[in-house]
């Protein structure tokens, strides 16, 4: 830990004691001007608490935070912001109905007398966007009409509308696809060139090498390693995070050669899905890559019967599914783990047991429900996936993202489904849990399930899939054997053939 005198932000021995939990237990961190300092750690390691302490949302119990050598007042978000510490949260927190300019200057609108100075607002917004290299975004367009990446840029512009010295970015790439991430990195590089210090929280190890200068690893509220060079080997970082050596991130990929279980013929629902045909065999994991908005999620929902197709058919095990009937799809053997576990996959206030059994209650009902049999069966499947905590009555809201995903998977195991549709199964999940989920998914395929996985992380598609398909603008444009797939090639097919030069146009 080199005490660089030039550090713009220094955190020394930070402790945060919550009732019953010591969220931070002595954390050190120094951020230099113009660097991207990556913050890494499993869920619950204290990353959020750390940034909340720095941004003033949470008051630390012990320790000090220095900004440019001066102590930063703690527990005062307005003061932190005023002194130049801005935060961009993972979930986009823009008001969708406002215009870009209104969003950027929300709560500190420039005034002329008692009135808003709309011209200045518009002009300054345009200048900020230009500074970020996104002149293409109009200050007058509504936020709701921008793509996620562009909304992200607006969030950053809002942070810059204060005089920012340290910018904290909490998993900014989580909702972006590869092309958009490149845009984000472009923006980050411009900021660091201006001397802004960036704290960049991520779960994607590849991003550290692509954008980071140094890395700090948190584990159990402590700094397991701080100020490491971005070139630190991945294995070493994972080891620091989980406190032990993880053998392999990706298990052996399944080589499915069973019969065709899922067959999709000419499925179309304009404008998102423009005629897709595909087959998935028992025992294989088929990856579906592509940019966000390429129609991947919509395709899964069409297959599952959540939407009515304009045209096309879905066959499962030689049986044609009626449109718009998820219950029939389930009866035929389909199971869906949706993109957003919390809002689409689970009843958060229900126990693990009840969430697992919901799709297969009929088997426990002989007149009345046999809740004991229900609990035993649910527990068996939860245990087989090693869900933590091992308490089937625990409310699902209290589980980590990875364990919530396991609850969804346990539901379909209980139902003995034949085809699993997984939409972003590892989003927001830390590396150690990701490795576990990869093993679960590939094991299921080896047990004879057909698995179709949508993911924005091309690396994981390359890592676990038997075959990878790429979708672009509602059509399948590329197919490759998993063992031969490369991220670069997939990305090339995922973005428009005219290359990503027209990205700014699309943003508009």
């Amino acid at each position: 830990m080199s005490d660089s005198p030039a550090a713009v932000l220094e955190v020394r021995g930070l402790v945060k004691q919550f009732p019953g939990v010591r969220a931070l237990d002595g954390v050190d961190l120094d951020v230099r001007p113009g660097e991207v300092h990556c913050l890494l750690g499993p869920n619950g390691a204290g990353k959020s608490t750390l940034i909340k302490c720095v941004s003033g949302a949470v008051e630390p119990t012990e320790g000090e935070i220095l900004l440019g050598g001066e102590p930063l007042p703690t527990g005062d978000p307005a003061a932190s912001l005023g002194l130049g510490v801005a935060t961009i949260y993972q979930e986009l927190d823009l008001v969708e109905d406002l215009t870009v300019a209104q969003s950027v200057f929300l709560a500190h609108e420039p005034r002329r007398g008692p009135f808003l100075d709309l011209q200045k607002m518009s002009r300054d917004t345009a200048a900020l966007l230009a500074r970020l290299g996104h002149e293409g975004i109009s200050p007058r367009s509504r936020v709701s009409r921008l793509r996620p990446a562009a909304q992200q840029v607006v969030s950053i512009a809002r942070a810059l509308s204060h005089d920012v010295r340290v910018l904290i970015m909490d998993e900014p790439s989580a909702i972006l696809d590869e092309g958009e991430i490149e845009t984000l990195f472009g923006v980050v590089r411009r900021l660091t060139a201006d001397g802004v210090g960036v704290i960049y929280i991520t779960h994607r190890l590849d991003e550290i090498r692509r954008i980071g200068d140094r890395v700090t690893v948190l584990a159990d509220g402590r700094t397991a390693g701080t100020g490491l060079p971005a070139s630190t080997p991945t294995d070493r970082l994972v080891e620091l995070m989980v406190g032990r050596i993880v053998e392999r991130l990706y298990p052996e990929r399944p080589r499915g050669a069973g019969e065709v279980v899922l067959e999709v013929r000419g499925l179309r629902r304009l404008p998102e899905v423009r005629g897709v045909s595909l087959e998935v065999r028992a025992g294989e994991v088929v990856g579906l890559g592509g940019l966000v908005g390429s129609g991947r999620t919509e395709l899964l929902r069409l297959i599952y019967g959540m939407e009515t197709p304009d045209e096309g058919e879905v066959w499962v095990g030689g049986e044609k599914l009626p449109p718009n009937r998820p219950d029939k799809a389930i009866a035929a053997g389909l199971g869906l783990a949706p993109e957003d576990r919390k809002s689409q996959g689970l009843l958060l206030d229900w126990s693990q047991t009840k969430n697992v059994s919901l799709a297969d209650l009929g088997r426990f009902q002989r007149g009345l429900l046999n809740v004991r049999a229900e609990r035993v069966a649910a527990r068996e499947h939860l245990r087989s996936l090693r869900t933590v905590p091992d308490d089937a009555e625990r409310i699902v809201r209290e589980l980590s993202g990875g364990n919530q995903q396991k609850v969804v998977l346990a539901r379909w195991l209980l139902r003995s489904c034949r085809v699993l549709l997984l939409d972003e199964p590892t989003r927001g999940v830390d590396v150690a849990t990701k490795a576990e989920l990869y093993r679960v998914i590939t094991d299921l395929a080896r047990d004879g399930l057909a698995v179709l996985v949508v993911s924005s992380e091309l690396e994981e598609l390359v890592g676990i899939c038997s075959r990878v398909l790429v979708m672009r603008e509602g059509e399948l444009v590329f197919e490759v054997d998993g063992a031969q797939a490369s991220e670069r090639e997939l990305l090339r097919h995922a973005v428009a053939p005219t290359d990503s030069a027209d990205f700014v146009e699309e943003v508009r």
Partner: protein, 344 residues
């Protein structure tokens, strides 16, 4: 959490002993225990303030008999609110059902005809609500507000705004109603307990089993808790929503039978504002207005709480106007108390 309880299947409910906040066995949580306390306290307060008239067998019988009408409505309302819906029309459906049964049956006709007429008619009205909401996609508040007006209008139209006497259905007299005469349901007793209280208790138990021990009950709460997640898990969302409004109508018919049998007549202006009593009892009981959490035990205790409060106020000679203000205030307070939980 320990894994030990699994090894001891001998005692009933051992699985509930592991860990904190277990409330799986009866669907009973903190709020229900609190309500038991409230009921006891109210009773004690009543006994202190009016030692001669409040804690008497007669008064308790009276309270329970009156509570059974709203109680039956509240059980149906619990299912509706569990789906994040609302039924504002139960009072009007009740009046219309009583009038329909009364007009249908001859003055000295069969009790069974009256009961069937009332229950079937209320079920039809409930089905109209259900169709509008589940298939017409009308917001429950608006659909049942319309039925609130329609039901009352129908009740007034059926006998030219006049009540119908039901005194002579299957014979008997007020003092000594023949078994299974209509009066018997309202004023008869078995082992000293009014028949209508048995009906209320029976419906409460069936409601509890339906909500907590059947697939259907799970579906109802799942639909209220997260409609999208329920659909993805294969729950027939529309059919489930449809069913709760039919059920609410059916129970309004049962409540009509209880009320008419007690008054020995059907009145087109009966059941006024009963929807508020029913909703109030459900909310006080702890069922979430946002859906996804429902408790029949809580509703039952909520009904008792309301009954005690208003019996006490009546005995203290407080006017109905004051009671009305209090009622509204309690419901508002109960909803406000729910909020912090909803935020978690």
């Amino acid at each position: 959490m320990t894994t030990a309880p699994e090894a001891a299947p001998v005692e009933k409910g051992t699985e509930d002993a592991s860990g904190t906040g277990r409330r799986q066995l009866l669907g009973v949580g903190l709020q229900e225990y609190t309500l038991v306390g409230v009921v006891v306290v109210l009773f004690v307060v009543g006994a202190i303030l009016k030692p001669d008239s409040f804690p008497t067998a007669d008064n308790v019988r009276n309270m329970l008999t009156q509570a059974s009408v709203v109680g039956v409505l509240a059980i149906g309302m619990t299912f509706v609110i569990a789906t994040a819906g609302i039924d504002l029309s139960v009072g009007s459906m009740l009046a219309a059902a009583g009038m329909a049964g009364g007009v249908l049956v001859d003055p000295e006709g069969s009790t069974l005809v009256f009961i069937l007429g009332a229950v079937v008619f209320a079920t039809i009205l409930g089905t109209v609500n259900a169709t509008a909401i589940a298939y017409g996609r009308v917001v429950p508040f608006i659909a049942t507000l319309a039925m609130f007006s329609i039901g009352r209008g129908v009740a007034l139209l059926l006998n030219d705004k006049l009540p119908v006497s039901l005194l002579d259905l299957n014979g008997g007299s007020f003092g000594d109603p023949a078994p299974f005469s209509l009066l018997w349901f309202g004023t008869g007793r078995i082992f000293g307990i009014p028949v209508s209280v048995y009906v209320f208790l029976g419906i409460t138990i069936i409601g509890w089993l339906l909500l907590n021990r059947t697939r259907y009950g799970r579906y109802v709460v799942a639909v209220g808790g997260n409609r999208e997640a329920a659909k993805i898990a294969g729950v027939p969302v529309r059919r489930t929503i449809f069913s709760v409004y039919v059920l609410s109508g059916l129970l309004a018919g049962v409540a009509a039978v209880l009320l008419c049998s007690r008054l020995a007549s059907a009145s087109p202006v009966s059941g006024n504002l009963y929807e508020l009593d029913a909703i109030g009892a459900v909310v006080i009981g702890g069922t979430s207005l946002a859906g996804g959490r429902a408790t029949i035990v809580g509703t039952f205790l909520g009904v008792l709480t309301f009954a005690l409060i208003f019996s006490l106020m009546t005995q203290l000679n407080l006017s109905t106007e004051v009671q009305q203000v209090t009622k509204g205030g309690i419901v508002l307070g109960a909803v406000l108390l729910q909020r912090p939980e909803a935020r978690l």
